[in-house]
């Protein structure tokens, strides 16, 4: 059961990664990377139960935390770039 869930999560991660590479706008890519991070948290948790080591939940919590802070930092960075350019925002935003 856990193995099937892990494979499903891997498929979803591949789809999110494809969107991150293909995404036409910056927002698409950021959202895809955020989703990829969330799926990584789920994968770590499922893998922990798959191998009988529920300690992995601690690592999953840490990963969720780092993912959250990282996405906020990237969003601030993109916002700063958009604000620093004097001309109106490019079409990407």
């Amino acid at each position: 059961m856990f193995a099937a869930a892990a494979i499903c999560i891997l498929v979803v991660m591949a789809l999110a990664l494809a969107r991150a590479f293909l995404g036409p706008t910056v927002c698409d890519r950021i959202l895809a990377v955020n989703m990829f991070g969330t799926k990584t948290v789920l994968l770590i948790a499922v893998y922990g139960f798959l191998t009988g080591r529920p300690d992995f939940l601690d690592i999953a919590i840490t990963y969720a935390l780092i993912n959250f802070i990282g996405v906020i930092a990237v969003l601030k960075f993109v916002e700063g770039i958009a604000d620093s350019e004097q001309q109106p925002r490019p079409d990407e935003f």
């Binding site: 601690d58 840490t62 935390l65 780092i66 802070i69 906020i72």
Partner: protein, 138 residues
């Protein structure tokens, strides 16, 4: 910066739990995944989240950079001090057995102290690097 009200409130709710989780990773590191390095990084991540939501000046008010550099040295000093203390108590360098009457208790004290030193140093150095990056002129 002022229109990020949702982000500010969520960060305000999350930061205490992030710091608490860092302490859990620090002191539960003997029994589960974790330890001083990871706890230091998580603690610094909490402060970095505060800096991202409330601005670098507010973060530097609660964690003054002039305090961080001595703290980074203090952690190393604690680590080395435990080693020197074990030598003075008659053991080898970082041989925790001599720290208490019982070898098992000595190991506990020794690991707790050096992990505390590692945690303090890592958290301080992470914040020093972060502040150095966000305060430099573009």
């Amino acid at each position: 910066m002022s229109h990020d009200i949702v982000l500010k409130v969520i960060a305000k709710l999350l930061i205490p739990f992030i710091l608490l989780f860092a302490l859990y990773v620090q002191f539960h590191g003997d029994f589960g995944p974790g330890g001083g390095f990871q706890a230091g990084v998580i603690f610094a991540a909490g402060i970095i989240l505060y800096a991202l939501t409330n601005g670098p000046d507010a973060a530097m008010r609660i964690m003054p950079p002039r305090l961080l550099t001595p703290l980074a040295a203090l952690g190393v000093l604690l680590y080395g001090g435990v080693g020197i203390a074990t030598v003075l108590l008659g053991g080898h360098f970082l041989n925790y057995d001599v720290l208490a009457h019982d070898a098992v208790h000595g190991q506990h004290y020794g690991i707790l102290l050096i992990e505390l030193g590692v945690g303090v140093t890592v958290a301080s150095v992470m914040l020093v690097i972060f502040f150095a990056f966000i305060t430099q002129e573009p």
